[in-house]
């Protein structure tokens, strides 16, 4: 009952939160002391990056770990990892695009080869590589195992991206929401809108993941049905 209700409400709640975020971000929150109206990108870019790096790539990694663990191994986990990685690619590309759009007027350049940007681009290549690796394998068991290992190895890049602004000198700003000593750097209504954007985009990820998962199940069912039909037709031909 609760599960059904939450599944039904996921889409409308996501939409509501995103509309609220955009309304607050575009019309209600004040311009920044230095960045002026450019600060409105704050309600999109960090949240999109959060989903790309931690939520979606994290989901794909956890599902891959659980798949490789014999006790929890199942086709469902492989499917979840695959779908989460596909959504991750979308969010990584969005992270790079929104970052560029924000970077041009603030930094003065669309792109800089600093540690944060380079490592994020590498994560994008790894995520696309994961999908390519899946397509390269015909055997479902082998495909699931190889891609799970690849996802786990690729996940090493996530902490590198996270700490890149501390380990190296980057053009990209430091941690956005909290400093290393847990001090909030974003003030007033800007902070609440930022947190709302994180929630909205996180729910958007789960909504997309659910939709993609259902599509994958349907695709597999259709494939199985087509194969059954082909076998049946072959058998009939043989009987004749």
């Amino acid at each position: 009952m609760i599960k059904q209700l939450s599944q039904r409400l996921l889409g409308p709640v996501t939409l509501l939160l995103l509309v609220l975020t955009f309304w607050l971000g575009l019309w209600v929150t004040p311009p920044d002391r230095i960045q002026g109206n450019l600060v409105r990108m704050l309600y999109v870019h960090p949240a999109v990056a959060w989903v790309a790096l931690y939520v979606s790539f994290g989901t794909a990694t956890i599902a891959s770990v659980l798949y490789l663990w014999k006790r929890t191994r199942s086709g469902t986990l492989d499917r979840v990892a695959h779908c989460a990685m596909e959504v991750s690619v979308v969010f990584i590309v969005l992270t790079l695009i929104t970052g560029s759009i924000w970077g041009r007027p603030t930094w003065g350049v669309w792109w800089a080869w600093d540690a944060r940007l380079t490592s994020t681009a590498i994560l994008g290549v790894l995520a696309i590589g994961y999908l390519a690796l899946r397509r390269a394998n015909d055997d479902p068991v082998l495909r699931a195992r190889r891609s799970a290992v690849f996802a786990i190895v690729s996940a090493i890049n996530v902490p590198i991206i996270h700490f890149s602004v501390q380990w190296w000198k980057t053009l990209h700003q430091g941690a956005t929401v909290f400093t290393s000593n847990r001090q909030l750097l974003v003030h007033g209504s800007m902070a609440w809108t930022l947190l709302l954007s994180f929630l909205g985009f996180t729910l958007l990820f789960f909504w997309l993941l659910r939709a993609r998962y259902r599509l994958e199940v349907l695709r597999e069912e259709t494939q199985r049905a087509t194969l059954d039909l082909a076998l049946e037709m072959r058998q009939r031909e043989g009987a004749r």
Binding site: R33, I34, L38, V39, T106, D114, A132, D138, Q173
Partner: protein, 160 residues
Amino acid sequence: MPSTETSELSPVAPPKSTSRSRWRSMGVLVVLAAAIIVLLSQGILHSLNYFETVDQALHQRALLGTRVFRIEGVVKPGTITRTSSGASFVLTGPKDHEVFVDAHGSPPQLFQSDIPVVVVGHFTSPTSLDFDGSQILVKHTATYIAAHPHRVKAPNRTTR
């Protein structure tokens, strides 16, 4: 034609899917490795440590000579002069070391006093503290504070 029927019904060898999959996977991994090497080499070539601070640049002054690098510091208030080719200003480091910068090209939208910037360029001579910049990049902080441009309004609704 019995010979043809026999050949059609005889079992055929299963496709070598595992071997083909392995080769395709290897191909994907090779392309991936090449892409990552290209990205990494770009990152390393353009240096993962994106800049030298004013203090670090002055500490390595002899080593840097007149080679091109990126210098980072805060624009000293009251030192910005718009020139025909760009802007000149004084860049300060955390230990109050100063470098005079003469930058060419239009500065970014956010360029202003008391803001951290990264300037691409080189020292004008092996011993000089004057920096010839070809590009200014604004390095904004992660602090976001609301501006209040319309806080005080006159009765005629104009802003003061």
